[in-house]
């Protein structure tokens, strides 16, 4: 068996290694002088570290926490702060403004054609685009370009 890797050695010395692996390691350590020395050293370090004791009981913060939590709760019962309300209002206002802009833009485009009497030029060209001919397809609708990638007008202009 090769030497123990460092992390396994730490866990073994700390007594954290589970059986049956712990038994295998014990057997190896008993037979391997190098690993035996390393385990001993790690065990001493583990014990030395354990000599740093702290006493958190002297620093009880339970009352502080409970008082602050009650305060926070009372605030949340009173309702959201003015800042939160203001933020909500701002978001609503932005949404409304965006809706108005979209509606005006669409209205302008649609109104432009009805006032000037100009029809959209989408059906002005009924010529069969080259790429449809190449594919052996028929140009069935004046609006078909809407679902295709290219505008037939542009295609015609290029011809």
């Amino acid at each position: 068996m090769k030497h123990l890797d460092e992390i396994e050695l730490i866990e073994f010395a700390a007594g954290n290694l589970a059986e049956p692996r712990a038994a295998e390691v014990r057997e190896h350590v008993a037979a391997c002088r190098e690993c035996s020395r390393r385990v001993q050293e790690m065990g001493k370090l583990w014990d030395t570290l354990g000599r740093w004791n702290v006493e958190p009981a002297e620093h009880d913060v339970a009352d502080r926490i409970t008082a602050l939590a009650h305060e926070n709760r009372a605030e949340s019962v009173r309702g959201p702060s003015i800042f939160v309300l203001r933020k909500k209002f701002l978001m609503q206002a932005l949404r409304l403004a965006a809706s108005v802009l979209i509606a005006v833009g669409l209205g302008h485009k649609l109104g432009e054609s009805s006032v000037t009497g100009k029809k959209p030029q989408i059906a002005s060209s009924q010529e069969k685009p080259e790429y449809l001919a190449a594919l052996g397809l028929e140009w069935s609708s004046g609006l078909a370009w809407l679902v295709l990638e290219d505008n037939p007008d542009e295609m015609g202009g290029e011809q």
Partner: protein, 185 residues
């Protein structure tokens, strides 16, 4: 059943429903470990108290959204570790050191007690001198008894990163403490 001690998840459910007594019980149950972890990580009791306070207030605020995916303590440790690391970074930015651990004067006439205190101070100094992540991993492993997996969950680091940090932390401590009067060799 009446008389049963509620577990942490049940206390969180009660807290989410507005039962403030449940928060008090959680604090009583866990504050010592939280304070200990924060103190060992930050090295100062006043900072540890602030971290403990903020950690439990966050528990309170998050109670409504709490999903018991992991153990409550692992989740709580994660909050505490994050607060400690934030504090250390904040102090590093402001140029305020946390590493000025003062060794208290030995006034006890009893030599044994003085020696014990001295060893404790040496260990504390050695742990405080570790790089940030090594120190957090070591405190969670040696003093809080967390497994590698639990440390990974509490810190958000990978399992292999945790193992590597632990190996380096113990090696550094072995080297530091072996140079001191109370040799570990």
């Amino acid at each position: 059943m009446a008389g049963d001690i509620p577990n942490d998840t049940e206390l969180m459910t009660r807290l989410a429903a507005g039962d403030m007594a449940a928060l008090g019980e959680l604090v009583q149950r866990h504050q010592e470990r939280v304070l200990e972890l924060a103190f060992r990580t930050l090295g100062k009791w006043d900072l540890a108290e602030d971290v403990a306070q903020e950690a439990f207030l966050r528990v309170h605020r998050a109670a409504g959204n709490y999903k018991p995916k992991a153990r409550f303590t692992t989740w709580l440790y994660r909050i505490v570790v994050n607060l400690c690391l934030d504090e250390k970074r904040r102090r590093a930015r402001n140029g305020t050191s946390l590493e000025d651990v003062t060794v208290e004067a030995q006034t006890e006439p009893n030599g044994d007690i003085a020696e014990k205190k001295e060893i404790a101070q040496l260990v504390r100094g050695a742990v405080n001198g570790l790089p940030e992540r090594q120190r957090v991993a070591l405190v969670l492993h040696r003093y809080e008894g967390l497994s590698h997996g639990q440390i990974a969950e509490a810190t958000g680091w990978t399992g292999s990163a945790v193992e590597s940090l632990l190996v380096r932390a113990y090696a550094n401590l072995r080297e530091k403490l072996s140079k001191m009067k109370y040799s570990v060799e």
